[in-house]
């Protein structure tokens, strides 16, 4: 049932609606004459509808959610509660800084914490998501070259294993994308890279550990190649959870980094956002950081703007980015402290490697069997598909019936019929063991009763949805 289908003409929650006052001075020509096709429902209708709707979701709060590359870890409830204190919620973004020193103190300290964990010289909290962080990063690379009068650099190099956002961002920033291949072991092909870099190279975007779940062992060679060609290095922080407190992008030689706070810093994914993607930079990119930036002056805090930072790439949001998300990340970071940060990567790695070994022992084929898992790893079901016709998608759907959210499917694109599995550090060994059990069951079913798997899910609010039809017969709104 859609909320629109509950609508009754004339139903109104008067406790929420002020008395009507005729706005006489608005000229008729500017007035709306048409009805607004919003639902007319009671407060109880709304509460009941969305409560029941919510129950039709899998979520971290209800299910193990090993969605690779998404770092679905527990979102501490305290972070949400403390970011939503009435005074913080009531704070207007244009209120003078002196009326929000408590609020700004949190953001300032978050900036400092992010500098410390990334090893960068400066951080801006402005970007509202990882992809916007990437945009800011590449735009800074562009601004850097332009500021040096270096106008010939038109290419951004991206490994073929990269997230789609990397090439998309490079394009959005006006660059041509040049892909470099990956070796059998999951590393960047250094020879290909050496051949690719040159005077046109503006920079390289790299995720490390990569989307294949493995740490780029020759990172220093890569760094040298790119820097010697005059390019800059961009660190995509999507997988920072794997190395938090162990090794820092700054120490690896990266010039720019973005951090996905909704991954590594446990802010809620909220069904797809809001996230936050602060960027950190090395000394030479400091002037270009997006504004606003929180700074301390004479014991007080204020926001640096375009006026203070004439070389900034500019502003990414009308106000202060996703401030409420930043507060949540701040609470989480302070509750972890220095040791807690290192524990994140330790247990993310422990869980991923344990699960990887357990699954290998159970007969699953790993895409990179010779490697350690970072915080995630890739299983390929190519053989199973050949033998039974059960695809990675079928397998994933059947896992849902067992009460587990599916891993990421068909990404990274390099590996056929793959599952990218990321357990995160907040899940227990007992949960991982139960997941292995379910994986084994589904594999058994694939051999014994493949139809059951191919037609899964069977126990969810809907059966397998026709996604092709969704794209072919576009139905994007209620009519």
């Amino acid at each position: 049932m859609l909320i629109f289908e509950l609508s009754q003409p004339g139903r109104l929650n008067t406790a929420l609606a002020p008395e009507w006052v005729e706005p006489e001075d608005i000229p008729a020509a500017l007035r709306r004459c048409s009805a607004i096709a919003l639902p007319e429902v009671s407060e109880l209708d709304v509460v009941r509808h969305y409560t029941r709707l919510s129950q039709r979701n899998f979520s971290i709060d209800t299910h193990f959610y090993p969605l690779g590359s998404c770092t679905m870890k527990y979102n501490p409830r305290a972070a949400g509660a403390l970011a939503m204190l009435p005074q913080f919620l009531a704070r207007h973004p244009r209120a003078p800084e002196r009326t929000g020193q408590g609020f700004l103190r949190c953001l300032y300290e978050l900036q400092e914490i992010l500098k410390a964990v990334t090893g960068m010289a400066g951080v801006s909290l402005a970007p509202m998501a990882g992809a916007q962080g990437e945009f800011a990063g590449v735009a800074m690379i562009r601004a850097y070259h332009e500021a040096r009068g270096d106008g010939e650099r038109t290419e951004i190099i991206v490994p073929d294993a990269a997230h789609g956002t990397n090439p998309a961002t490079a394009s959005m920033c006006g660059y041509t994308v040049r892909e470099v291949p990956t070796t059998r072991d999951g590393d960047v092909d250094l020879d290909a890279l050496a051949a690719a870099v040159g005077p046109k190279t503006a920079g390289l975007m790299l995720t490390n550990p990569s989307t294949l779940g493995v740490f780029e062992r020759r990172i220093l060679d890569i760094q040298r190649l790119v820097h010697e060609a005059g390019g800059l290095l961009y660190y995509d922080g999507a997988n920072l959870n794997a190395i938090l407190g162990r090794v820092r992008p700054g120490d690896m030689g990266f010039d720019v980094v973005h951090v996905n706070l909704h991954k590594t810093f446990a802010t809620p994914h909220g069904g797809g956002g809001p996230g936050a993607g602060p960027v950190g930079v090395s000394e030479k990119l400091l002037p270009f950081l997006p504004v606003p930036i929180v700074t301390e002056e004479g014991g007080g805090l204020r926001l640096l703007t375009e006026r203070d930072r004439p070389q900034t790439i500019g502003r990414l949001s009308a106000h202060l980015g996703n401030a409420g998300v930043l507060l949540r990340a701040y609470v989480y970071a302070r509750m972890l402290g220095a040791e807690g940060m290192r524990r994140v990567s330790a247990f993310a790695a422990l869980n991923a490697n344990y699960l990887m070994v357990r699954l290998r022992q159970a007969g699953f084929e790993l895409a990179y069997p010779s490697r350690r898992a970072g915080h995630e790893f890739v299983v390929t079901l190519k053989r199973l598909k050949q033998e039974t016709g059960v695809s990675a998608m079928d397998f994933a759907k059947r896992l849902l019936d067992y009460g587990f959210h599916a891993p990421t499917t068909y990404f990274p694109l390099l590996v056929p019929e793959c599952l990218l599995i990321e357990p995160s550090e907040t899940e227990s060994k007992q949960t991982l063991d139960a997941f292995v059990e379910a994986m084994v069951q589904v594999a058994r079913e694939a051999r014994e009763d493949p139809e059951r798997v191919k037609t899964a899910p069977h126990t969810l609010p809907v059966k397998r949805l026709d996604e092709t039809r969704a794209a072919r017969v576009l139905d994007l709104r209620w009519k």
Partner: protein, 462 residues
């Protein structure tokens, strides 16, 4: 360990299965000289109790004010049900609905949201949201340039929110797009149609039409839209969603309606929250859907023919199309959108209309009150929506500081962005203001500008 469930026995057993001696061994592929010994410069961990105390102290030190600031972020009343519903764990802690069958809650919610935004803007298609209103404007400019296939300049009225213009510039400059400023009439605050008509639109792809504009002033949207269409330009409407309950929606503007409508969804149930998270909405004509950036949810059927919902037209998006995608965006502002959906459902068409009308009535009432205050005058004539620009007879910084000492945030200064307007203040009155609040502002302004009594020496908060 905070948020980590492992017992010592678990760790021992897990290491044994992996076949290593210690957790540190799991990092053996990292070059050893790169490894950190410890994280310096980080404060020690705080328990939840200490953290709670720290945050409560900071929040209380910030206090709460009687707020008349608007300028792109509006203090509307948010029913308690809104955030109680959307912070339910199943919504709050879910991710992008990649497995549609396990995410029908999120997907249906987004489908309902899309339907509501289409209803509000009278447009045919809505995406599932962008980051905020300013970046949505930037994306609209990029989309218009893609659609136009030729023009690389976009006409941007100077009456558009200054920060929105900056953001649009940031997002479009790397692609060589130029934003051409269109002046406003000094008397009315409206976009100057004559000046506009004088512009050579040969390389132009689109015109941005703000309604209301940054000064709260109502533009002649019909005329602007007609002008654009006559020059072969796309129309990007930039609108306030609450205002749309009273004002002619972009889909109905003369000349065939806007092509793309964007704005910030914050007024629809999102707290001010120091500036975010808000969300940007974007709707467009059906024919343009394949150039729309951001997520889209569509209705479809399951194996049994029952209705269900799924992400669709993903071929536009970065994870499929990579460097050819319509945008690099890969999240939406899901939770914010959920709040807006619940808000719109609770208010309904009549509730929204009343909220808008009450906002506006308050603006009119404030105007009447301030008309009697010596040293305050309206900057522009003509109709407005719920915020209004005034010129005051003293430096605005001083005036605002004096009001602040009385627990009042008196509005937003115009001078930094519009030095030509003198001591300008943008004052916003939403439906949350009562008669007494308006009088309190007027009386303090009168006192401050009249300097009848000395300012009190110390700040006092309410």
């Amino acid at each position: 360990m905070p948020f980590i469930p492992h017992t010592e026995r678990d760790v021992v057993e897990m290491l044994k299965v992996i076949g290593v001696d210690s957790v540190d061994a799991l990092f053996d592929e990292i070059p050893s000289h790169l490894k950190l010994g410890a994280l310096a410069d980080l404060p020690p961990a705080l328990g939840e109790a200490q953290m709670t105390r720290l945050m409560l102290e900071r929040a209380e030190s910030d206090g709460r004010y009687l707020n008349f600031c608007g300028a792109g972020a509006y203090e509307h009343f948010i029913p308690a049900a809104v955030w109680q519903l959307v912070t339910r764990g199943e919504i709050y802690s879910a991710y992008t609905p990649y497995q549609a069958e396990a995410s029908q809650g999120t997907l249906q919610l987004l489908y309902e949201y899309q339907s509501m935004m289409c209803a509000l803007t009278a447009m045919e298609v809505s995406n599932a949201s962008l980051y905020d209103g300013a970046s949505a404007l930037g994306e609209a400019v990029l989309m218009a340039v893609r659609l136009h296939r030729g023009g690389y300049r976009v006409l941007m009225p100077r009456s558009v929110h200054p920060a929105y213009r900056t953001v649009a510039r940031t997002l479009t400059r790397p692609q060589g797009i130029e934003l051409v400023e269109v002046p406003f009439e000094q008397r009315s605050g409206r976009t100057d149609l004559q000046a506009l008509e004088a512009i050579d639109t040969a390389d132009c792809a689109a015109l941005v039409v703000p309604q209301p504009n940054y000064f709260g002033v109502l533009e002649d949207a019909d005329a602007l839209c007609r002008f654009a269409k006559s020059r072969g330009l796309l129309v990007i409407a930039l609108v306030n969603p609450i205002a749309l309950a009273l004002l002619k929606p972009p889909g109905e503007w003369d000349g065939g309606g806007a092509d793309i409508a964007v704005g910030d969804g914050q007024p629809l149930g999102l707290p001010l929250s120091g500036g975010g998270p808000y969300f940007g909405f974007m709707t467009c004509r059906q024919a343009l859907v394949r150039q729309l950036p951001g997520r889209l949810v569509g209705a479809t059927v399951d194996r049994d023919g029952r209705r269900g919902f799924a992400l669709t037209l993903q071929a536009r998006e970065q994870h499929i199309r990579r460097s050819k995608a319509t945008s690099n965006i890969c999240t939406n502002q899901g939770l914010a959108v959920a709040a807006a959906t619940v808000y719109m459902a609770l208010l309904g068409p009549e509730g929204l209309r009343r909220v808008a009308a009450r906002c506006h009535a308050n603006a009119r009432q404030l105007e009447r009150l301030l008309a009697a205050v010596p040293g305050v005058e309206r900057l522009f004539d003509g109709p407005v929506f719920h915020e209004m620009a005034f010129r005051v007879a003293a430096p605005t910084t001083d005036v605002l500081r004096a009001l602040e000492a009385q627990g009042i945030l008196g509005g937003v200064e115009l001078a930094p962005d519009y030095p030509e307007l003198g001591h300008g203040l943008l004052i916003c009155t939403t439906e949350t203001k009562e008669e007494d609040d308006l009088k309190r502002l007027a009386e303090h302004l009168e006192r401050i500008l009249g300097k009848r009594i000395k300012l009190p020496p110390c700040a006092m908060k309410t």
